[in-house]
Symmetry: C2
Subunit: 205 residues, 2 copies
């Protein structure tokens, strides 16, 4: 996990602080960490502000409240559906399943799995989060991806691909089952990709 957000400092001593930009960014980074570790309910405004090295009142000042901070910090995922689609569609459709597994694992591993865990942990009672998740994965990613390789049952195929990837994420990042939680990406890719490929282009009946 990344370490504390605002390094003690020495590097921005002189003169007046350059306005709020630093504080806002520090709060965003701290919020990603704390929400990832604690989930929405467990993360307190004071803990986030503390990690950012500012007063808790700054959360209200810069974001208007805990909800808004969560939306900006966590729901704003570290990759856009657009860019993700471009990466995945670049190559042989027969290898799409492989690219999907590898790309998702690579991105989420780079986040320490924290963003995935934060999302899952925060779906609780927060229909807004569930809705955002649904939009992102089904409409934004898999829903766009599937029509490029399949003609029938597109929604079902998109659901199944999402289910498999979410399941892998749950096992690797949230529940931390071994060996999947610790093995290298390529082992998982080799094991899972054929199943994704079947969901994409195989017969489902």
């Amino acid at each position: 996990m990344t370490t504390s957000v605002r390094q003690d400092d020495g590097d921005r001593r002189r003169g007046r602080r350059p306005g709020g930009t630093d504080t806002r960014a520090a709060l965003l980074a701290a919020a990603r960490e704390v929400f990832s570790e604690q989930g929405y309910d467990g993360a307190t405004v004071r803990a986030i502000a503390g990690r950012a090295g500012v007063d808790a009142a700054m959360v209200n000042h810069w974001f208007g409240g805990k909800d808004a901070l969560f939306g900006e910090a966590v729901l704003r995922l570290p990759f856009s559906p657009k860019e993700l689609l471009a990466t995945l569609l670049d190559g042989d459709p027969a290898d799409l399943g492989e690219r999907i597994v590898r790309t998702f694992l690579t991105r989420w591993d780079a986040q320490d799995g924290g963003v995935f865990a934060a999302l899952v942990r925060s779906v609780a009672g927060h229909e807004q989060v569930a809705h955002a998740l649904r939009d992102f994965f089904i409409r934004g990613v898999f829903g766009q991806l599937v029509p490029t390789v399949a003609d029938d049952r597109r929604e079902l195929r998109a659901n199944l691909v999402a289910a498999q990837m979410i399941g892998i994420g749950m096992v690797r990042y949230v529940a931390k089952f071994e060996p999947v939680a610790s093995t290298d990406i390529e082992t998982v890719v080799t094991a899972v990709a054929p199943n994704i490929q079947r969901y994409l282009t195989g017969r489902l009946d």
Copy 2:
């Protein structure tokens, strides 16, 4: 979702009730509902007691606290690993994947999906719950199941089967993606079972 457990009579006087009431059972039923809807943190003792039509102090009186109530209401799953194993192992190993998918969907559909959702939502900051989940599924169910059909990479296979089923559960019960959330069980079985079967007995490299 089922409605309130004890009809509200407006007659909540102090003191012992006339015979026939079962406050303990009412609290258990209400707790399953509320934990399912809100997760562990979101579910308040007062909300649970309110739905059961009794005072919040009853939770402490009958269970000793919120933690213990959660344990009895949610972690006490509606089926034992033992009985589950017997059901799944009864039949042709070549159809095991199919039986796994059908059995899990049938059981969880019967619970309104609430128990699954409660578990997932409560894995949050509660390592104890995650650990119980891990034990139940990996050691208690899939870990026992896989060795009967596979010789190599048993742990990996068990993880992958668990991942696929958890993913389906997430999509059907928690995130509620369509069409998987609403379609009949057999459609899902037909679509998913071959992939489970590959995880059980296929080549993973």
